[in-house]
Amino acid sequence: MPGKLNGLLVVISLCLGTVLLTAPSADAATFNVKAFGAKGDGVTDDQVAIQNALNAASSSPGSLVIFPVGNYLHSGELTGTSIGLQGVGATLTATTGLQTLRLTGNKVSVSNLKFNTQVTNTDELTVFIDSANGFTVHNLVINGNVGIKPISSILVDNGTNGTVSGCDLFLNGSPSSAGITVVDSSTVLVSQNLVTGAGTGVEAVSSSNINCAANKTATGAGGIIGVGVTTMAVTNSLVTNLSSGAQGITLVNSTNLTVSDNRIMGNNTVNVNSEGIESVGNTNVLIKANNIQSCGILSVGDSAVQILGNSIFAAMTGVECVGDANLYVQVNQIANCQGSAIAAVGISQTLSISQNIMRDCGLTGAFMGGAAAVVFVDSPPATSIPITSNLYTGSVKNLSFFIDCTQASPPALLAGNKTNTLLPSTP
């Protein structure tokens, strides 16, 4: 009851724009850092006061620590267990390059806080969710450095059933750094975050059930990465500002992947090493309805891959697939490629390329394997190769074929492919 009363008083105080100072309590309750001596004046080192508040709250699992309006300097790591942190117009400013906040336990949360640093050219792990179950990281603004080592601004390690959402990360990071990293975790929603200035926006490693939705990244080395993940969805996200040679969304050695409705924009200079979506060594991959510009889709060594309904503009090769098994490239719109619109090499089992609408390819003659074709297929391991109902219009410069499938066996089934260029096909 005292906890509920304290919570009610906090709500009332927030509504009135006042600061309520609550006394420390042994029950799950609300704790105000100013009650523990924190100044929040941007001058005083509040490290001890804040940690004392966190310790008091940690002694009562489920408690909430409130940061009233102010700029709280701290000179070291802050830790808490099974508690929540909530700011009200508050900023936490690190005066050293140490980890800022580490939370562990059950039902941990941190929300409505701004994190700054006074340190440059060092590493800073801002929020570390360590072995937490039922965590929430919400509505943070982080201005920080994640520069020198491969380090993340928000790290979830061994977490379960959690959310990282609505956070804006303005970072100064090296190509090996990341904005948000989820590792060895399960059932995590990463949504509506903004990451700029790090190497990678969001990365998930050795985890399961990762839902990465509606994030925005403007990071140089890569937008969103999944490595060794079981069941991951990357949807409705915006990936921009990719450096030359960077990949927008990269998925490696994972299973049950959905990449859909994302918008990926490479830099304006098309680079042979850049891909909007790169999938390597995965199983059950659905790449659907993405809008990709200045880069394409690369699938290597995947199994059961569906590339459906994507819009690709100004890539080197629109869709490039190598060594996949059971590949379906269907209903994509591909335009202004330097080389081929679709290239499929060494595909085994079924290779289906159908109902793709392609326009203006072969612009610079940069063809994979030198095949001057809009659609290039060289997949002798395949047992079935239907190439049907594709459409090509536009440029014939540098092109010798509409569909080039030179292999003798098995022959591709070509039917319903249409071009008004009169380019030939070679089944």
Partner: protein, 204 residues
Amino acid sequence: MRCAIICCLIILCQLLGSNQAVLAQQSGIFSNKWLDQRFDWVIYLEPKELEHYLVYPSSGLGPVTDVRMTYRVNPRLAANHVDSTLHYEDLWYHEGRPVGCRRFGKLNIQSGWQGAICISDADSGHQNTPAEANAIVRLILEINLLNCNVTAVLVPSSMVSPLCDAMGQFQFFRTDGSAPPGPSRLEVLVCSGLSDRNFMVYKP
């Protein structure tokens, strides 16, 4: 013996002569190989004036132009990969107006297949161009009902312009081909070769 051989050659020539235009297309730019690299099927149109047919005093139907339609399915898609040309239909025209039709068989092309209409060089005077344009539009509609596409109409170079003009009667107009393709657009290419492509679009 020599006479027998000559007779056999004459008979063979007569048999083959019914499809001289097709034979003329066995080599060159519209050869079967050239067509097979681009289309799933080809319909050949051969216009020919029927001499003395329905030509009599007070006849309102003569002279009659017979547009003979044969078709060939790409052997890679044909049953048993057999390369054969089949007689589909004869359309009769009087001064460009359709006056009769005789169907010889089914147009055996499958949904989604795309192909071309190929017109022989026989109509050098272009007096049958309106009939050919009518036959082309009729085929385009029929083939669309089969959920198939007519990608191109392949004609001798001298016939491109008159045919494009004649198709205007049926609301097909020249376009620059720059518009993106759409599922509801009815487009066809009239061409005599790789460098002579005329984009025609239906504008109701």
